[in-house]
């Protein structure tokens, strides 16, 4: 039985400094998610990066969108470098809306795990990186 059928969220330590948050299928109650992330961060104080994997998300409520925004603002306050991985244009829009609204240049959206990991390993801000690529043809 896939984990998503029991629990829409999975949180675990991926590397000593990286928290991995996996979200599955439909997002509704983000209160539980936010609380669990806060608990995990309290338990693992060495964490500096958070990877939110939304590749399996296919639906969400308006409340969930607000809740995910709250989560991003919380991560921004703690100055954690955050990468959101998405699996469709719609989830990309959601993740992007969240990071832009949170005004956190330490958070960005990606369409693959490798590009997210590449970015997490650097210190460049999202907007600075996007702007630098505008000037770099091919």
């Amino acid at each position: 039985m896939p984990p998503s059928s029991r629990n829409p969220f999975q949180i675990h330590l991926m590397q000593p400094q990286r928290l991995h948050v996996q979200i599955h299928e439909r997002i509704d109650d983000t209160g539980t998610l936010v609380n669990r992330v806060v608990d995990a961060l309290a338990e693992h104080r060495q964490v500096t990066q958070v990877l939110v994997d939304m590749r399996n998300v296919n639906d969400w409520t308006e409340t969930a969108r607000v809740g995910l925004g709250t989560l991003q603002k919380l991560l921004a306050r703690r100055q954690l470098r955050t990468a959101w991985i998405v699996g469709s244009g719609r989830t990309h829009g959601l993740a992007r809306f969240i990071v832009v609204r949170a005004a956190d240049s330490n958070a960005a959206t990606f369409t693959s795990l490798s590009s997210a990991e590449e970015w997490l390993a650097t210190h460049q801000g999202r907007v600075a990186q996007l702007l630098s690529k505008v000037d770099e043809p091919g």
Partner: protein, 210 residues
């Protein structure tokens, strides 16, 4: 002296605005670009945006050029770009052939909800007719490159640059483009299309939606 300098600055700002105004995009987008890129870099970014749009349309023509921009925008979650350029591609195609493209701009939400692999299959299947072979090839290439595949050819590098520029553009459009009402969005036309063509396109498209 200061007044003269100030006047020159204002004149410079107005002159810089001229090539930007021809892009005919939503003014909210320009304001966001200026805010995000800073007033100093904003004009340069917008000129780059215009150059990239002109370049992709010069290379592939108005139909496929706009399809490239549409897919780049909708993969980023922006309905404003997705609908605007898909609608433009449809109008240019209808204007030159009198026929409809297999992908309707009103499908933007449906396309955005598809997982990337499914979207790739959908594009391939929808454009399977030999007439659309080039469209299918280029759109699938955009999708592959957007998903992180490395560019292999000079064409790939050009497409990747379009993707990079649109990636920044969508950073600016997402606050109003993420949830925009699809039926309220118009075409992002670089070259004007006569009103009667638009009307005939809408009538023809409406018949397929029923």
């Amino acid at each position: 002296m200061n007044i003269r300098k100030q006047m020159l600055n204002w004149t410079d700002a107005v002159l810089q605005w001229v090539p930007v105004a021809r892009l005919r995009y939503d003014s909210r987008m320009f304001l966001r670009i200026m805010r995000v890129a800073s007033w100093r870099n904003g004009f340069a970014v917008m000129r780059k945006l215009g150059d990239v749009r002109d370049g992709v349309c010069a290379r592939y023509g108005n139909v496929l050029g706009n399809l490239v921009l549409a897919i780049a925008g909708l993969l980023n979650g922006c309905r404003y770009c997705g609908v605007g350029h898909l609608y433009a591609a449809n109008l240019y195609y209808f204007q030159s052939t009198g026929k409809l493209l297999p992908i309707d701009e009103r499908q933007t939400h449906q396309l955005q909800c598809m997982p990337f692999e499914e979207l790739n299959d959908y594009i391939r299947d929808s454009l399977s007719d030999s007439e659309f072979a080039e469209m299918s090839r280029v759109m699938q290439r955009v999708l592959h490159l957007r998903l992180g595949n490395r560019p292999e050819t000079a064409e790939d590098h050009e497409i990747e640059h379009v993707i990079d520029v649109w990636n920044f553009v969508n950073e600016c459009t997402i606050p109003f483009g993420y949830d925009a009402k699809i039926e309220h969005l118009g075409p992002a036309l670089s070259d004007p299309v006569p009103l009667d063509v638009i009307r005939r396109y809408q009538q023809a498209r409406e018949r397929t939606r029923k």
